[in-house]
């Protein structure tokens, strides 16, 4: 298992940012929402990974957040895509489709 996972790990890692852009684009989300949506997939991750990544994406001006009151407990950060984030998502989507068809074309 270790051998194949060594090859799959980098692929997952490379796609994580793309998927986060996708998730944030559908709604205004809170970190727990992102974790929950990813938890049902191969891309399950944790706060310890997600927060540093979101901070980096915010520094690159792809996402932004605002503090919102929650029904329970202290206010939370809700993330949204910036214009730059939206255009990067569109580019990544385009590229992903391209890669997909290339992979499919090159045989089974």
């Amino acid at each position: 298992m270790g051998g194949i996972d060594g090859k799959l790990g980098p692929i997952r890692k490379g796609l994580l940012e793309f998927l986060i852009l996708k998730i944030v684009s559908t709604n205004t989300v809170y970190v727990a929402d992102i974790l929950k949506r990813l938890s049902e997939t191969e891309f399950a991750t944790q706060e310890g990974t997600l927060y540093p990544l979101l901070s980096k994406m915010r520094r690159e001006n792809l996402v932004d957040y605002e503090w919102k009151e929650s029904e329970v407990g202290p206010p939370r950060k809700y993330y949204t895509l910036t214009a730059k984030g939206k255009s990067q998502l569109a580019e990544l989507n385009q590229y992903w489709k391209q890669i997909n068809s290339t992979v499919n074309q090159l045989g089974s």
Binding site: G6, K56, R58
Partner: protein, 258 residues
């Protein structure tokens, strides 16, 4: 009676017992040192703190308002180690991977006998087979491996029994006891080896050996004394194990109730 430490997380006060507090502090320190070159360090730490606070709050109610080591272990496990650069190579990531506190525990499920070797292997990050070979090799020295194994079997809590409790604090004690035991065992074994060699073995291999003749006559006599002494040493060793294990257990229980 246990002392609690009041911690402010995300502008709310939480009661931690000492163990839980030390675990949380260690986790946050590691996160901080892992992020020291990250421009978003303070923001990430604040976010992580926020998550920890939320998860801690979820486990509390009117009947339970102190966070213990078991709670914080669960929370930190959920939050996961802080990865400074999630898109970097595995190697760099592995450096920060050990953020969840390690404990020296027996693992009966993963073990062949009582899970001592498998617990040690996990604690020291070694292959369990290597640990077992070391124990088997030590067994050659008049059962030294067995002696150490028995002591550790008694002194090490199981992973479940520890339940995130105190084991981190007590492990130097266990190791110290093991070290004392090794010294005792070595003291017992070395005289047996040397007296055994110039007593019994040499005499029997001497050409035409007649124990009653000359210099070696006294030696055979000493050889049998050495054999008796060997038995004596084993008895002493047994007493040392029993006393050592009892002492470790006593100190463990005292550390817990303090």
């Amino acid at each position: 009676m246990r002392q609690v430490i009041i911690v402010s997380l995300n502008n709310n006060a939480y009661h931690f017992d000492e163990d839980a507090y030390s675990d949380l502090r260690r986790y946050l320190r590691r996160a901080q040192s892992g992020l020291k070159n990250n421009p978003d360090m303070s923001e990430i730490l604040a976010d992580i703190e926020h998550s920890i606070a939320e998860k801690c709050a979820a486990g509390l109610n009117a009947a339970k308002n102190v966070i213990n080591r078991q709670d914080i272990t669960r929370v930190l496990h959920e939050v996961g180690p802080v990865v400074a650069d999630p898109l970097a190579d595995e190697d760099e990531e592995a450096a920060t991977e050990t953020a969840v506190p390690r404990r020296l525990c027996r693992q009966p499920d993963g073990g062949m006998l009582y899970g001592v070797c498998s617990g040690l292997a996990e604690y020291f990050g070694m292959n369990v087979v290597v640990v077992r070979i070391i124990f088997l090799a030590l067994l050659m020295f008049n059962g030294l491996g067995g002696v150490i194994y028995v002591l550790l079997r008694i002194a090490m809590p199981t992973a479940e029994a520890a339940g995130g409790e105190t084991a981190q604090r007590t492990h130097p004690l266990v190791l110290a006891m093991a070290a004392v035991l090794v010294v005792f065992a070595a003291m017992a074994i070395l005289p047996m080896l040397s007296s055994g060699i110039d007593g019994d073995i040499l005499v029997s291999t001497l050409p035409g050996s007649a124990p009653s003749r000359g210099f070696w006559a006294g030696r055979t006599w000493m050889g049998s004394v050495a054999a008796l002494a060997g038995v004596f040493y084993l008895v002493i060793l047994g007493v040392v194990i029993a006393v050592g294990a009892a002492l470790v257990k006593f100190l463990l229980s005292r550390a817990r109730t303090r």
